[in-house]
């Protein structure tokens, strides 16, 4: 019974070595456990890529079909708010990265403050998003029964369209802006949903960090949350030019 897999001894758990309390029983070492967790996280992010992939496919097709509608729709979005939000999100990604670094180097204060900053920036992002959504709601740009093409067939009636110098659009093309806004809401909505989930997790993590958590070297959660947060950031890095910046010169 030397080198093969036969259960011979009754020593069920093999507690001969001393391992940290957070090492799960089925792992050999802590390295194995963290590597496993981060690999799992990355696979999860792959599913997220594919999840957004469906939306991006739809976006690319309709953008090519209904380019004028997409331009006009895009002019309805505020570049200022969009850019500011991009700034917030990138900064939050940075603070999150700093948070991971603080945890790695066991800086308690650093971790707590980084997480707080990330939290505030994330909430700020959602706040601005809400403002933007609200404006769409008021202008009847939410797809569905109440959708109105007024801003596009008659741009002079609409401040944003006028500012962007839009020309009146044929009714048929104007109606296609509904496709644009469908995608806008589907994509930013899914993104916002991910932000909300992220913020919920962040709160829990902050709570633990404040009470001295993550200082014992068991920082897999912080690292993996960081991956998630950066991923959400990347999605936005693409959404911003695709949705806000279609043909601003005109």
């Amino acid at each position: 019974m030397d080198s093969h897999a036969v259960a011979t001894t009754a020593d069920a758990h093999g507690h001969e070595h001393d391992h940290p309390a957070y090492l799960r029983h089925h792992f050999v070492s802590y390295e194995q456990q963290t590597e496993t967790a981060s690999f799992g996280m990355w696979l999860f992010l792959l599913t997220e890529i594919m999840f957004f992939g469906g939306l991006f496919t739809a976006y690319l097709i309709y953008r090519n079909w209904y380019y004028p509608a997409f331009v006009a729709g895009s002019h309805q979005l505020s570049i200022t708010l969009g850019s500011f939000n991009t700034l917030l999100l990138i900064t939050s990604s940075f603070t999150m990265a700093m948070g991971v670094w603080s945890a790695e180097t066991k800086r308690h204060k650093g971790l707590v403050w980084s997480l707080i900053a990330t939290l505030i920036l994330g909430i700020g992002f959602l706040g601005i998003k809400t403002v933007e959504y609200k404006e769409k709601w008021e202008k009847h740009h939410i797809p569905g029964d109440t959708f109105s093409v007024q801003s596009f067939v008659n741009p002079s009636s609409d401040a944003e369209a006028k500012a962007a110098g839009d020309k009146p659009m044929g009714l048929d093309m104007a109606r296609k802006t509904e496709v644009y806004f469908s995608l806008y809401f589907a994509m930013t909505g899914m993104h916002a949903l991910h932000m909300i989930i992220g913020i919920a997790l962040l709160c829990g993590m902050l709570f633990k960090a404040v009470r001295g958590g993550y200082m014992d070297g068991n920082i897999a959660f912080v690292e993996n949350f960081g991956l998630y947060w950066h991923f959400v950031d990347i999605v936005w890095i693409f959404l911003f030019p695709l949705l806000y910046l279609i043909s601003r010169h005109q």
Binding site: W65, Y66, P68, M169, G170, L171, D172, M173, R175, K176
Partner: protein, 360 residues
């Protein structure tokens, strides 16, 4: 004890009528069947081969006969063989099948066009002469026939097993298929794409007639107004001729001979004007601006039904000079009131002045 009489009756009927392939009633059918037979043979060979190997080895090397197995790693040569041979056979099928596919979906230029509109749950065919029929299609033998299909609601699929053809009717887009019937008779027409409650009721007959009988049928079921004539009325009543009047100063381009030509769009890309393009030009004009014209044409979305569009398309297709348009222009008020002849066997399709204006 014997078989129950009911079952017996079945079996007899079955033995008498046993068929594994529907009748071959179109030119393409025998070609498709040739490929089917080829594939069946290859498959049988493959299946028998696998079956033989398994059975033979099971007999030869069962434990009773061969108590100790001989370990074999594998054999690159053998494995290459059974990679390459099936691959080769599959590729033959692919090439052969693709040739057929392109043949079935590329109508010859001289084909006679019949429009088919699918809706929950019936098929409506519109012959160029204005004959409408529902859940049936009368066609002559010996003449290539192209179907231009569209659906008014969900996906349907126009399937004629005896012809080995089938094509999806898609909402919002024309699709085409063609065939040339060879044998007079009545064949099944099925809707094969699941389309809701009465999907299995969306069936009908394909009636293949000799040319003489077809002519008789045409005459007996004509409503007196051809598709193009109906289109002409629509053209007038929707005031298309306000812009497309062929005058040098007209706001819209002349539509005479536009069908089949190549236009250059404002974006610079060329397009071939076919039925689908004409339909799009009416519904989504601003997506297809012709070079040199302002995007002023209004959309007719929601104002014309699919049947109406078909009439308009057919009218524009047949427009070889602007003479008719100008005539229409002068008599706009009169035309829509033109009395209808009593429709023949049009299955009670309503016959207003110009058919196809969408009801509010």
């Amino acid at each position: 004890m014997g078989l129950s009489p009911v079952l017996w009756q079945f079996l007899v009927k079955w033995m008498v009528n046993f068929a594994i392939i529907p009748p071959e009633a179109s030119k393409i059918a025998s070609q498709v069947d040739a490929l089917l037979v080829f594939m069946t043979l290859v498959s049988l060979v493959g299946l028998v081969l696998v079956g033989l190997l398994v059975t033979a080895f099971s007999i030869l090397y069962r434990r009773d006969r061969n108590p100790v197995a001989t370990q074999i790693e594998g054999s690159t040569l053998l494995e290459a063989t059974w990679t390459i041979i099936p691959l080769g056979l599959f590729l033959v099928m692919f090439v052969w099948g693709s040739v057929l596919y392109f043949r079935i979906y590329t109508p010859p230029p001289n084909a006679m066009n019949i429009y088919v509109v699918g809706k929950q749950w019936m098929w409506k065919a519109e012959h160029p002469g204005g004959q409408h029929e529902i859940n049936s299609l009368h066609i002559p033998i010996g003449k290539p026939i192209q179907l231009t299909l569209i659906s008014q609601d969900v996906f349907h699929s126009f399937s004629i097993p005896a012809f080995r053809v089938k094509r999806e009717a898609i909402p919002g887009r024309y699709t085409t298929v063609w065939f040339e019937a060879t044998t007079p008779g009545t064949y099944h027409l099925f809707c094969t794409q699941y389309c809701g409650t009465q999907h299995s009721g969306m069936i009908g007959d394909i009636v293949v007639l000799t040319p003489e009988n077809y002519k008789k049928w045409l005459d007996s079921s004509t409503s007196g107004v051809s598709l193009a004539q109906n289109g002409e009325r629509l053209f007038a009543s929707l005031s298309c001729n306000a812009c497309h009047n062929g005058q040098p100063d007209s706001r819209g381009p002349s539509l005479a001979n536009v069908y089949g030509s190549r236009l250059t769009l404002a974006s610079g890309s060329p397009v071939l004007v076919d039925e689908a393009y004409l339909r799009q030009a009416i519904l989504n004009p601003s997506a297809h601006i012709t070079q040199g014209y302002a995007p002023i044409m209004p959309t007719y979305q929601g104002q014309v039904s699919e049947e109406g569009l078909i009439s308009l398309v057919e009218y524009i297709k047949n427009l070889s000079s602007n003479y008719r348009v100008q005539q229409t222009l002068n008599t706009t008020e009169l035309l829509p009131e033109q009395p209808d002849k009593v429709p023949g066997k049009t299955n009670g399709a309503p016959s207003a002045g110009a058919q196809g204006v969408a009801k509010p």
